[in-house]
Symmetry: C2
Subunit: 142 residues, 2 copies
């Protein structure tokens, strides 16, 4: 299901043009999916495939793809955004030393003890944010 053709046909369905740059970005996203690549890595990888591609295009395209649900944007504090072609529900385990990002199924227990036993990852710090709309803003919008 995580295949280039699927992404390409989604682009067509939504009326986007199929350009060499977009194809190169899709290639890079799929090839480096394990690394949860950021714009820089995508740019480097796509530069090898596509004769001409600019970093601006990579940024615009990744933003566009995530806004249209083709990929998921992982946002971190003071760190490059990363992108994931795997749209299934999972938590990100982020290593403080090497910076690698691991996927962890959300269905399993989220107790630090269980995470350590199953994945070998020792959780030292959790960050929990709930985004939405506050009472006042809901009232204001009617």
């Amino acid at each position: 299901m995580i295949c280039k053709d699927g992404l390409i046909s989604q682009l067509k369905e939504k009326g986007f043009k199929i350009t060499p740059q977009r194809l190169a970005i899709i290639d890079a996203l799929v090839e480096h999916r394990e690394a949860h690549p950021g714009a820089t890595l995508i740019y480097e990888a796509a530069s090898k495939t596509s004769r001409r591609i600019s970093l601006s295009t990579v940024y615009a395209t990744l933003k566009e793809f995530s806004e249209n649900g083709l990929i998921r944007q992982l946002e971190f504090d003071r760190m490059e955004n990363r992108y994931d072609v795997d749209l299934s529900d999972h938590v990100n385990l982020i290593c403080k030393r090497c910076g690698k990002i691991f996927d962890y199924a959300i269905a399993a227990s989220l107790e630090p003890r269980d995470i350590a036993r199953k994945s070998g990852f020792v959780v030292t710090d959790t960050r929990l944010e709930f985004h939405g709309y506050c009472r006042d803003c809901l009232k204001r919008s009617g």
Copy 2:
């Protein structure tokens, strides 16, 4: 417990010097605690109290205070860091429209339905990150 004197005595205990800049920053942190202030707000508030204070100092001091456990740094994606003098366990509810940050006790149910009933805040999106050390990095450190 959230009082200036407590913060000041913590500074002394840890061997930090008591400077007018640090006092002004503590004042600003306590006075604006409800707003979960960022560096800019702290800088503006502290500028009124302290004749001379630079933004660099504000940044350095807030970083130092959080690293030493005097305050908590709230980090957001592509948004100014915010600071909290309340060190008790709580979740942050972030309004997508007005940007305000609300505290929500972590002891209570984290079900969106319960949060809405208790606080009037409608959760549309959750971000869950677990930070720590991966298996390989743990192995490497012995």
